[in-house]
Symmetry: C2
Subunit: 236 residues, 2 copies
DNA sequence: AAGTGGTCTAGACCACCGC
DNA sequence: CGGTGGTCTAGACCACTTG
């Protein structure tokens, strides 16, 4: 175990066991470096890790303080539909149900401020069973190739990742009563809700896509963990 | 803008514009340091940031490569119920509905491997309207004070955060048909689904709590963003 | 065996901000 | 103004893994 890991673990223990309660003013970096017998950079690295995790807050001149935990940050890993299905041992396929090109009438919420848009409705299947219904708007000005693309081989999701591999993404998660399209295409049980992800992607401030993904509630779930959860295996 | 930020932005552009496609072998840290005219530590910092974001992968001896984006990692911020409600300008209150102490019969899934458990059923209200139903199991061996606590002033959530401020957390999110308890307490509309969070917390490998949180689907949603989303404001 | 990334050091200077 | 954290440097040595 490296020095910075031990220092991180020590500081974490002091916080979680109440030695350093919320609001406590942590010794300066120079002082900690002396206490642990390391260079300032090493103790800084341990502190940074705890700042990223939301346990500490640093401010110039006034020093480092223990945060009161008002929220926890978990990492939500959002897989690619096809890979998610194939990893579970099922066969993936998709159908393009609707496709059109247009302007503001496709974007009632005004997210794209009037740009020309490609609209797609696409169903993703797991072993021939409906798994995800995707309704997507793509900004043609930002991604010109989106106007003519047929989406015959590649699904819109993966095609877009080739155009812009790592956009900035925002997801909103909801439990909803199925829409008409949902009921038509997802083959839901009676009373079954849908798990909805509303996603926006941007690159350098320009809105690229807005998407609504709906899934049968009985077959879909997402997991989110704090960074330390995986490194902290349950005891047998 | 600091050198490491500019370097990060440059590398990001090379990846997103296809100069460095998935699988591409990035020049070594020494070479990049020379290209940008900085110390190796500085270029390393930019690389680390992209590794954390999932864009790059580093391996000793074989070098740094561009990842193919098989998933995206978003940060899910999970607020404290009371603060979430009060921030929206409403009045928070809660009711302890059921409370008991027992062993394995409370834990059919066997998560706690037979430990003595405290079980709570608790309703959280926003302006007197049901907002969240909480069913929680607490490991008494790990948190002895949980056996006798009355939860009269503080709700279980916040009381536990005083005992263990920063546990490791795993959340599973689902859209579900309401259970009997949900319908009884959440005052749901006809056909309205519930948004369910199943949460486990651990500290140093020991399971602390297992909780099911259910919310009326019509009033609840969660948001998850990539790190760069906030820094990348939409254009007017 | 060698070359890559991973860690650490000792020091310098800067930027912010509370006093 | 002074003291804190923030950035950067130049160099050393280590650890892993692949050829």
């Amino acid at each position: 175990m490296h020095p910075y890991e031990e220092i991180r673990a020590t500081l974490l223990r002091r916080i979680n066991e109440g030695d350093w309660p919320a609001g406590f003013s942590v010794p300066g970096e120079e002082a900690l470096a002396e206490e642990f017998g390391v260079a300032r950079g090493t103790v800084r690295r341990a502190l940074s890790s705890l700042v990223d995790a939301g346990l500490l807050e640093r401010r110039r001149r006034s020093g480092t303080r223990v945060m009161s935990r008002s929220s926890s940050r978990s990492v939500l890993t959002i897989p690619i539909v096809r890979e998610e299905i194939e990893r579970s041992g099922r066969r993936y396929s998709f159908k393009l149900l609707e496709s059109s090109v247009g302007g503001q009438k496709l974007d009632p919420a005004g997210l794209f401020s009037g740009a020309r848009l490609r609209r797609l409705l696409c169903l993703h299947l797991s072993d021939e069973r409906p798994f995800q219904l995707e309704e997507r708007l793509i900004n043609i000005a930002a991604i010109p190739a989106a106007e003519a693309e047929r989406f015959a081989e590649k699904n819109p999701n993966e095609w877009l990742l080739e155009q812009v591999p790592f956009p900035a993404v925002r997801n909103v998660l909801r439990a909803e009563v199925p829409t008409l399209d949902d009921s038509r295409h997802l083959r839901l049980g009676p009373g079954e809700p849908v798990f909805v992800i509303k996603r926006q992607t941007r690159r350098e401030g320009v809105m690229l896509t807005a998407t609504r993904l709906s899934h049968p509630g009985s077959v879909y779930q997402m997991a989110a963990e704090t960074d330390d959860f995986a490194e902290d295996p349950a005891q047998g």
